[in-house]
Each structure stands twice: as C-alpha cells, then as structure tokens.
C-alpha cells in the first residue's frame, strides 16, 4: 500500500481529546478510595445494625408504614462479606481514607471550575428531556439518540448528581464525626440520628450509581472506556468536536 500524506486524504474519523489528565487521575483515585470508604463504613455500621438488644433501627430498612420488607443488612449478607467483628479495622481505614476521598473530591470540583470542564457536566435546559430519550433508547423502546458533545443529558444529570452526593456524604460524615464541636451542622441536618441516616442512604446511592455506571460503561464499549484511561476517543469526523467546544469557551 502506498503511503499518501495524511492531510491530502479525507478521513472519516479523528482522535478526540475527551478526558483531561486531571479528571482521569481523580476518577481512578476515587474508584478504590470510595470502595474503601464504603467497605470500611459497612464494617462500622454492622456494629449497630442488628445487635443483641434488637435496638430498633427502624430507619435502616425498606418498608411502608409498619411493614418492613428488608432490614439492612440481613445476617447472611454480613457473613458473605466477612463483615462481623471488624469494627476497629473499619474505623482505622475510614478515618484514614476520608482525607484522600475529601481532598480528591475537592480537587476535582476545583479543576472542573477552573478548566471550564463543568460546562460539559452541568445539566442544561434540554438535559432532562434528553435523559428521558436516552433512557428509552437504552431500553430499546425508542430510536435516535439526541445530539451531544461530551455527555448526553442522562450523563450530565448523573455525573452532576454524584458530585452533589459527594458533597452530601462529606457534610453528613462531618456532622457524625464531630457532632459536638459542629453541633450546628448536625442540628441543621436534623440531628445526629438523621445525619447517620442520610450518610447511610447517600452511601446506598453511591452503590446504585456504581452499578448503573459500570453497566453503562460495559455497554458503551472499549472506545468509551479507553478514553477514561488514555484520554482519547476515536470519533467520527462528523461528530461535534469536544476540543472545538473547549476552544469556544476562551
């Protein structure tokens, strides 16, 4: 095959700089750190979840009125995950990795703001409509994905929500960690028990996000996944350019 100078040819694809280096680093640091926080959190939470007193933690359950469908977590779940009697291990890891989690998250938000990348992430007016359409397409109920640059409407909503969840988990965590010194914060959240409840359910939301996120990444395929490692994605030349959008901010 003869080599022809590239710019004389018509290409139908291009390499797009999708994720900046900082975002990739913070994303992948966050992955094991968030895992450690959830795991160690469960080790701590176990200690009060179902003790000999049958302390009625009615709030850590799924149910309607007085009918409880599920108490979190059933004994077999704890046994399967080797949770029982690792409280101090949980405390040790939780109060070490909280710093990495918090600093990484704060750095991420600062980077989004300073780099302008937040423009790709914050939902727009059309995002909700797009998100519904995207979901229906995902469920094979409808055809035709709406136009997007970096993220579609569903992604914008999901990734912005997960940042808010990060803020929420830090604030509720702080309220539980220092309920006397920061009692104003604890009171603002509805008291100590309420702050614990929020902390728990935000954690469950992180787990739910994680499941959907990983599922979608698997479905989206290699090109999309690779971009979170290498930063680059192969795009069709017809697609709106992420890089052009970045340049338009300046």
């Amino acid at each position: 095959m003869s080599l022809v100078s590239a710019d004389k040819m018509t290409v139908t694809i291009r390499i797009e700089r999708k994720h900046p280096l900082a975002i990739r680093w913070m994303h992948w640091v966050n992955f094991p750190v968030l895992f450690t926080m959830i795991w160690s959190g469960i080790l701590i939470y176990w200690n009060d979840s179902d003790n000999a007193y049958r302390h009625p933690h009615a709030i850590y359950r799924i149910g309607i009125g007085k009918v409880t469908l599920l108490r979190l977590f059933p004994e077999w779940v704890y046994r399967q995950m080797n949770v029982p009697y690792h409280v101090t291990e949980g405390l040790g890891y939780h109060f070490f990795f909280m710093w990495i989690f918090a600093l990484n998250g704060i750095a991420y938000v600062i980077f989004l703001v300073l780099s302008g990348e937040w423009r790709f992430l914050v939902p727009e007016r059309r995002s909700l409509r797009d998100a519904i359409q995207v979901t229906l397409v995902d469920l094979h109920l409808r055809k035709g994905l709406p136009e997007q640059i970096k993220y579609n409407g569903a992604q914008r909503i999901a990734y912005s929500s997960v940042i808010l969840m990060g803020v929420g988990i830090l604030v509720t965590g702080l309220a539980i960690y220092k309920p006397t010194q920061l009692h104003w914060l604890t009171s603002l959240l509805g008291g100590y028990e309420m702050a614990r409840w929020l902390h728990f359910w935000i954690t469950m939301s992180f787990l739910a996000f994680f499941m959907v996120h990983v599922g979608q990444v698997v479905l989206a395929g290699w090109n999309n996944f690779r971009a979170m490692v290498s930063g680059r994605e192969i795009q069709s030349a017809n697609d709106p350019s992420i890089e052009l959008a970045r340049r338009s901010w300046k």
Binding site: T12, H86, Y93, R226, N238
Partner: protein, 405 residues
C-alpha cells in the same frame, strides 16, 4: 443514562496488522483533523473493498452515511488507518502508565495492610487517628457546648459494657483515690499510700440487667467482640499464655498507668464530692457502636472538682492529662486535662432522677458529651493527674485514644 458512543473501537483489529510506524508518520494530530472537512458519506465504496479494518470502518460508515459520494475508498481507509495507528500507539503508552499507577496503588494498600499493629490498630491507621486528634484539638479546642434537650426527651440509658462492675461494691467501702493534687498533705483526706485502701464487694448477684456489649454472649472474651481479625489470634495467644493479673482482668489487661504501691494522695468520700455545686444536664450519649440516647444526668462538674482539688504543677506547669480507673483496675481511661475542664464534663451520681445503679457505675461515673461512651468510665475509683499520656482500655484494643466528638 447512557455512555454509548456510535463510534467503534479500532483495536478490534487483529494485532498482526501493520504497525503504526509503517502506516502513520504521525503527522495527523487531532487538531489537524478538526480543520479538515468532515467526510461525506463513503459507504458504497468502502463496503466494496473491505481491506484494512472492515469491522471498525463499517460501523463508522453505517452510523454516518447520508448520501453516497465519490471518494477513493482506499485513500479513506488509509487515512483512517493512520489515525487508528496513532491512537493505538497512544493507547499503549497510556495503559502502561495506568498499569504502573494501579500497581503503585495496590502497593500503597499492601503497605498499610501489612504494617505492624500498634495497640491492635495497623500503624499507619493508628498514626492517622493521632493526626486526626491533633487536627481536631487545634481546630476545635474541645470548646463547643453540646446541645441540651428537654427532660421529656430523656430515657433510660442502655447498659453496655460491665468491665470493672461485675461484682457489687459495698457502698460504704467506696473512696475516690485522688493522686497528683496540689498541696496534698494539707488536705485532711491525705494518706501516704492510697493503694492500700480496700474496696469490699458483695457476693450476691444483682437483680439488675447487666446488658450486653454487642452481638455476642456477654461472657465471651472481648477480643472476640471488638478486635480486628488479623490481631485476634495474637491476642488470644497472649490471653491464654498470660497469668491472670491481680488487676486488669479483662481483655485489655492491666493498665500501665495503674498506681504503684506507696503512692500518696487523697481518699475522698461521697460527702466530700457532694459539697461541690450540683448540676443537671440533659445531653445525648453517643456510643461508637453507632447508637445514641438522650439521658438526664446529675452530679458535680469536673471543672468545679478541679477548682477544689487542683493538680500539682509538674516542672512549673499543669500536667496535661487525667487518668481514671475502676476500683479493681479492670477498666481505665485517659483524657486531656482541658477536656475535663469542659463545663459539660460531669462526675455523675444520678441518672434519670435516681441514684446510679451498679451497672451504670454507682456510686460515681463520668459523662462528657465531647467524647464517645467508651471514655465515660463507670464506677470511678481513681482520678490521677499526670503528665504521661495515660493508658486507655479500648485504645489498647484498636480504638482511638482521643475519641473526641
């Protein structure tokens, strides 16, 4: 939510294909690609000759095509292949770096997990406890007042933890040993050796519910309840080897802060304590297990006690710490002196409007809303002012010494 992208991956191509060097002199950067006209449709041509990357290219084309146009299919594919080759090279480098990062991350985790234990807590994590305490002391200075509640909200506290309380103390035999007090010899309660004071116990079983610790038989050894797994075997071996100590008969063993024989000090009676102003408090008691209860307390403020029996200066300064212990030395706790001066730190004699019961620490226990419950020692037998960081029961079993809320 979708992360779908209509563009296919180029790496599905067999690895035996041309190397990047052959194909792309790497003049194609993504910025140049931007400037170029977007390709019109090429489907018919491309499909006619699937030479280089049929899978990838076909997918591109299928998603893109609007109207067929005349372009040299070979050129298009060659051009695309140049882009793909550049991408492959970049991907390779990125994944090598990513793998190195993953290995470094795993190494960091192993470094923590394989560290030796310090008081049943992995050393880096123990250090983190200490660093967190230093930050909390510097930022908050333990000054904030905990919220108080109305009497209506208060309820009986659960009994949780009976170390040092298992035998019923004869009330008349109770004295508060006080060590390290200023001008001790000038007090009428002075004695040259407080350790010879004999606490007496009743053999009869109490009718009071002695509670549980957590989820396990109250008679099980503490290590089985609270200690982290990796350290449990070690603890069990030590527990089996060690002779039972005369003091410190529970899992954490004898305190290194316990008094040496012939320690001079005061032996205070309940009457001495009750001369101090009585204070009531309705605050939330928080257990590190996670539960909390609002409780009505009454007793004397530790701050007033420290006024009445101030610590002797050591090297021209106040000692930094306060140490407390049950009469049998089975349970013990340590505090910063300034936390004891907190206006809500109470030497408690009554709970919920009634005198303390055996398993709630009669005749004297501590309440401090600035600390978790495991610092709120029941049945205080000794208070000692000291400059040496005191031993602490649960700290030895992996918990944080500071435990500040």
């Amino acid at each position: 939510m979708s992360e779908q992208d209509p563009v296919p991956m180029e790496d599905q191509k067999p690895a035996s294909d041309s190397t990047p060097a052959e194909l792309a002199p790497s003049t194609t950067s993504e910025t140049e690609a931007d400037k170029r006209d977007p390709a019109p449709s090429v489907s018919t041509v491309a499909k006619a000759e699937p030479a280089i990357d049929p899978i990838a290219l076909e997918a591109v084309i299928e998603t893109r095509v609007e109207e067929p146009d005349v372009i040299d299919g070979v050129q298009v594919k060659a051009a695309n292949e140049a882009v793909l080759a550049e991408s492959r090279e970049h991907t390779r480098r990125a994944f090598v770096l990513a793998a190195a990062g993953a290995v470094a991350g795993y190494g960091f985790y192993r470094w923590i997990d394989q560290s030796p234990g310090v008081a049943m807590q992995l050393r880096p994590l123990r250090r983190a406890f200490q660093a967190n305490a230093a930050i909390a002391r510097a930022v908050f200075r333990d000054r904030a007042l905990a919220p108080t509640y109305s009497l209506k909200e208060a309820k009986d506290l659960r009994v949780n933890g009976v170390y040092g309380l298992k035998k019923m103390l004869v009330p008349e035999s109770w004295r508060l040993q006080l060590v390290g007090v200023q001008d001790a010899a000038r007090h009428p309660q002075f004695t040259s050796d407080v350790t010879v004071w004999e606490y007496r116990y009743v053999d009869t079983a109490s009718h009071e519910d002695q509670g549980h610790d957590t989820k396990i038989d109250p008679n099980a050894r503490t290590a089985e309840k609270m200690a982290p797994m990796p350290m449990m075997d070690q603890a069990t071996v030590e527990e089996n080897r060690a002779e039972r100590m005369p003091r410190g008969k529970e899992e954490a063993g004898e305190s290194y802060s316990t008094l040496m024989p012939q320690t001079p000090g005061l032996l205070l009676t309940m009457d001495d304590l009750l001369k101090l102003p009585r204070h009531e408090l309705v605050t939330q008691f928080k257990c590190i297990e996670g539960w909390s209860e609002i409780v009505h307390w009454a007793g004397v403020r530790m701050a007033d006690f420290l006024e009445a029996y101030p610590p002797a200066f050591i090297d021209g300064r106040e000692p930094k710490y306060v140490y407390m212990e049950t009469p049998d030395g089975d349970y013990y706790t340590g505090y910063d002196l300034n936390v004891c001066r907190h206006p809500q730190t109470l030497l408690v004699t009554e709970m919920m409007g009634a005198p303390l019961t055996q398993y709630h620490g009669a005749p004297l226990r501590l309440h401090m809303p600035t600390k978790y419950g495991y610092k709120q020692i029941k049945r205080i037998g000794l208070i000692s002012y000291t400059n040496r960081k005191p031993d602490d029961y649960w700290t030895k079993l992996g918990y944080d010494w500071y435990a500040g809320l």
